[in-house]
């Protein structure tokens, strides 16, 4: 057959060949093991070494984890129960559970409040993270900051309600004018919202007892809750600020550009801890005498500034990645700068930037542990301070650090997995 084929140049196939299975040596688990684990002598050595490392880690870790004690009330009892066995005293976690999560000073009967706020957080971010959910859910996202504030800080429901109402009034004014002029609408909305807020602030004190939860001062926040509060608030606040800084840095106006470049490079050039020092000991000097807002608010300001500089750089990358033609098409249709940015450029640039923004958010969330250095009692601060210093649990290190590490790992790994999923989504979108 092949002879005739080679000899006669004109050739037409009359029967198609069916698909055949590959030879057995080229498929199945045997092939996989041979190719991916024992393909050569160095590889075999590597595999065995890796297996040994895994054995070492697991043989040390598993008995410690599985043999652990969960129910004693202090380290001495725990050691008695263990009776010399190498296992963990996880009872420190059960006994100090609430302190680890909520800090020392949060009212005990109010623990459900931050827990509820935490659970609702997932509902609130879901429509932002996943585009295929019903759009009306975004309404809850808008309401969430007010609900969460009320739940965590307590006080009368009318305080966040009046803030919501003021924001609503501002938004209505804005959307009425925005087609005429974005800048006018923006400032009018801001002004209307501000005026409404001031007016309401005369009324709300009268209603202080109505529909009220027990108020909790900011300084009483602690534990992992504090990390979450700082992370969520600072990331959300730094996003709009970062957008403005990125637009400023891309601007053709040299003075505005210079201001943004100096701000961004300055913030990115210094470690977060120095900014926390500023919040702790310096910021008060730059505020009007007598103003005394609490440390957590000052820390939020500084961390927000810190994060916004990094987010600005991410968004600048997104802006730079957009083809020049998008700007030109917007111009040629007669859109002005604000319209072109709001309707054409930013929606696209932000979409490209989301993975980068998520990375900044993960980094920022990890960095919230730094507040323990300026003696705030976040999760790390709680462990280093009240728990390890107490006579009950002095000496239980690995259980506590392991727990802290696990909490952060779960959150950060989860977010970064989401970011990778999103990156894959973006690659396939509309192409």
């Amino acid at each position: 057959m092949s002879d005739t084929h080679a000899a006669s140049v004109p050739y037409v196939r009359d029967t198609m060949l069916p698909q055949n299975a590959p030879p057995s040596t080229a498929q199945g688990p045997v092939k996989w093991v041979r190719e991916s684990l024992f393909s050569s002598i160095p590889y075999t050595i590597l595999t065995l070494a890796a297996l040994y490392v895994i054995y070492l880690i697991l043989s040390g870790f598993l008995p410690w984890l599985l043999g652990g004690v969960w129910t004693t009330s202090n380290i001495r009892e725990c050691r008695e129960v263990l009776d010399g066995a190498q296992a963990g005293c996880f009872s420190v976690l059960t006994e100090r559970w609430n302190q680890l999560l909520f800090g020392i000073a949060y009212p005990q009967d109010g623990y459900w409040r931050p827990t509820a706020a935490f659970v609702l957080l997932f509902v609130a971010v879901a429509p932002v993270l996943f585009g295929n959910l019903p759009r009306w859910l975004i309404l809850f996202t808008v309401l969430y900051p007010f609900i969460a504030f009320w739940l965590i800080w307590g006080g009368s429901l009318f305080v966040p309600l009046s803030a919501l109402l003021a924001a609503l009034i501002g938004y209505v004014i804005y959307s009425r004018i925005v087609k005429k002029s974005f800048a006018g609408a923006f400032f009018a909305g801001l002004l209307a919202g501000g005026v409404a807020w001031v007016v309401f602030s005369f009324i709300t004190p009268q209603l202080s007892g109505v529909l009220a939860l027990e108020p909790v001062a900011s300084r009483n926040m602690g534990g992992f809750m504090l990390n979450m509060i700082l992370g969520v608030i600072c990331v959300s606040l730094s996003l709009p600020l970062g957008i403005l800084l990125a637009l400023g840095r891309q601007s053709s106006l040299p003075i505005i550009k210079l201001i943004c470049v100096v701000f961004i490079e300055f913030i990115r050039g210094v470690p977060l801890i120095t900014l926390l020092f500023v919040a702790n000991v310096v910021l008060a000097y730059f505020l009007p005498p007598g103003t005394n807002f609490d440390l957590i608010l000052r820390v939020i300001i500084m961390i927000t500034m810190f994060a916004s500089a990094y987010i600005a750089e991410v968004i600048r990358g997104g802006l730079a990645a957009l083809p020049r033609g998008q700007y030109e098409a917007a111009d040629s249709l007669g859109l002005d700068y604000a319209q072109a940015m709001r309707l054409i450029i930013l929606p696209q640039a932000l979409k490209i930037s989301i993975p980068g923004i998520v990375n900044v958010a993960v980094g920022l969330f990890k960095d919230t542990t730094l507040v323990s250095i300026i003696s705030m009692f976040d999760l790390v601060g709680m462990i280093r301070g009240p728990i390890l210093a107490s006579t009950d649990w002095n000496g239980v290190y690995w259980e506590l650090w392991g727990f802290a590490a696990l909490l952060f790992f779960v959150v950060c790994y989860g977010i970064s997995q989401y970011s990778q999923w999103l990156e894959r989504q973006l690659q396939t979108d509309h192409h």
Binding site: K179, P323, G325, A330, L333, L335, H430
Partner: protein, 256 residues
């Protein structure tokens, strides 16, 4: 001037008048002493080798590029540094780009209604009706809810034309509208442009499609080194070019 208009058999109403316009990129002199009058209803094709400044010329007309010297008047509005004048001209002059420049995050319909809603302040419903009208005109009303990335190049360019038409422009500029297209898609875009020309739209096209020029243009302008070298009616231009540069250019693009 009026005689010229009569000679070209179009109305004598001036749509665009460019007088003594010059432009530099840094020290490079891209456009040199351009004088051009476009009458209402004229279809002008601008040809020339790459780098001759033809794209820059039509981009100056709606201020995508700033000219440094001379005067441009579009529909009675002088193109000055006044933002209001620039906005007015841009909303009356439609433009199609080589790479379509559709907005990939918006559907076809949203692409078409965006500018009417935000610039012309047309109510959304009305804007959508207008958009559907023009999408039917470019023969892709059924793609209205898709995204640009889901369309072929030719379809995208027709959407881009419809998007410009939705602003009800009195003048259309085309910047090499078929250069980025696969050969089999060029025709559908050219057909749309021909139809537009037959309706009397004032058009300025930078293009290498000489067949199109013969068919619809009433004037062909040849540019080289930032200057207008020759302009004439298409018959004369193609059959009896005067300048040696024009002859060379025509022999290069029509050679095979």
């Amino acid at each position: 001037m009026a005689e010229q208009a009569q000679a070209l058999n179009v109305s004598n109403e001036v749509a665009i008048s460019i007088e003594n316009m010059n432009k530099w990129y840094g020290t490079f002199h891209v456009l040199r002493d351009i004088d051009l009058t476009v009458y209402r209803g004229e279809r002008i094709v601008i040809a020339g080798p790459s780098g001759s400044g033809k794209s820059t010329l039509i981009r100056c007309i709606n201020a995508l590029e700033e000219h440094q010297k001379g005067r441009i008047e579009v529909d009675g509005t002088v193109l000055s540094s006044d933002v209001k004048n620039i906005d007015k001209i841009r909303s009356e002059v439609g433009m199609c780009f080589q790479h379509f420049n559709l907005f990939p995050h918006l559907t076809i319909l949203e692409n078409c209604t965006l500018a009417p809603i935000w610039v012309r302040k047309t109510p959304k419903k009305e804007a959508e009706e207008i958009a559907m009208h023009f999408l039917e005109k470019v023969k892709i009303p059924d793609q209205a809810d898709k995204y640009p990335g889901q369309l072929s190049g030719g379809q995208q360019q027709r959407v881009a034309i419809a998007r410009s038409l939705c602003m009800r422009p009195r003048i259309m500029l085309f910047d090499e509208p078929t250069s980025a297209l696969d050969p089999e898609m060029i025709k559908e875009v050219l057909d749309t442009m021909v139809e537009l020309a037959e309706e009397g739209m004032t058009m300025l096209c930078v293009t290498h499609e000489m067949g199109f020029a013969r068919q619809v243009a009433n004037r062909v302008i040849f540019m080289d080194e930032g200057q207008i070298v020759e302009q004439n009616e298409p018959e004369e231009f193609f059959n009896n070019p005067q300048s040696p540069r024009t002859k060379l250019f025509l022999s290069q693009i029509l050679g095979h």
